[in-house]
Amino acid sequence: MSQFELHPVFGHAGAVLGFAQSNLFMIIAALLTLGLLWVGMRPRAMVPGRLQSAAEMAYEAVMSMCVDTIGPEGRGFFPFVFTLFFFILFGNLLGVWPYDFTFTSHIVVTLALTLVVFFLSTGVGLYYHKLHFFGYFVPQGVPLALLPLLVPIEVLSYLSRIISLSVRLFANMMAGHVMLEVFGAFVVLLAGAGIIFWIPSALSEAVLIALIGFEILVATLQAYVFAILTCIYLHDAVHLH
C-alpha cells in the first residue's frame, strides 16, 4: 500500500524538517480554501459569477449549518467549523486526484482534528456552564441508585466521541483508496494475463470509474458529517442536551 507511505518532499530540507507529502497537501488544501474565497470574492459583483457563487454558497451553507444546529450562538463558531469543513473537504477531494496524497487517510491527522474538536467543545461547555457542565453526565429522571452505573456509561459515551469521530473519517478514506488500488491492480494484471482476460479487465475498469465517482461522494459526505458532528457536539456543550 505505497499510496499511504510518507516520503519527505523538497529533498534534504524536507528530510531534515520531517516535511512529508502529507504536510505538503495540507498546505495545498489550506491554500485552495483561501484561494476559493479570495479569488471568488474579489469581483464583489451584485450578480455573482460562478466562483463567487460557489464561495457565497459555501459561506451560507456552513453558516446555516452552524445556526440551525448550534442555535444563535453558532455564529461565533462559524470560522472554526468553516475552516474545519473546507480543510477536510479539500483534503478528501485532493486525494481522489491521481498522484495526490490523501492526508485524511492517516489516523494521526484525523485524531488530531478530533482532539481539537473534543477539547474545544469541552472547554465551551465549561465556559458556558462552569461546574454545571458535569450535569451533562447525569441523565434526567433516573433514580439515585442507578447513577453510579449510568454516570460512568455517559462519561465513556462522551469520551468515545474521540475515537468514533476520528476513525469514521480515517476508515472511510482509507477503505475507498484501498478499493481503488485493488481494482486498479485487477485492471493491469488481467490485461497483461492474455487476450481472454481483456473483458474482465474492462469490467474492472468500469467498476474503477464508478468507484472514483463514489469516492467523490464519500469525500464530500465525510467532510459534511465531520462538520455537522462538530456542530452537534458544540450544541451539546452550549445547551447541555
Binding site: 456509561i153 465513556l156 459515551s157 469520551l159
Partner: protein, 125 residues
Amino acid sequence: MSDDPGDDEGPSFEERLRAARNRQGLDAPPKAPGLSPGDFGPSPWGIGLRVGVELVSALVVAVAIGYGLSLLFGARPLFIAVFVLLGGAAGVLNVWRIFAPGDDKWMQKRARRGNKDRGGAGINH
C-alpha cells in the same frame, strides 16, 4: 411603487419572501440537531459502518481506561472486566442516540410526568 419603509400596511418583504419560498418548497424545513441515519450515505453500508464505529469506539475507550486503572491499582482483570461491560453499554447508548434522536425529549417528559405522579396516584401510560 409604495416601498416606503414607514408604510405599515402588510407583512415585510422578508416575511413575504419567506412565505413565497416556503410555498415553492425552496427552503429546507428546520431540522432538529442530530443526524438521521440517512445522513451517512445512500447505502446501508454507511449506516452499518457508523453503528459499528460507535459500538467499537466506546469499547476501545473503556478497555483502555480499564487497562490503565488495572495497571495503576495492580488488579489486572478486575477493572478491565468492569469497563468492558460499561463500554458495551456506552456503545449501545451511542447507537440509541443515532436512531432515536427525538426520543430524548419524550424521555424527559415521561420522567417529569413520573416525578409528578410519584406523589399521586401512580404512573399512567
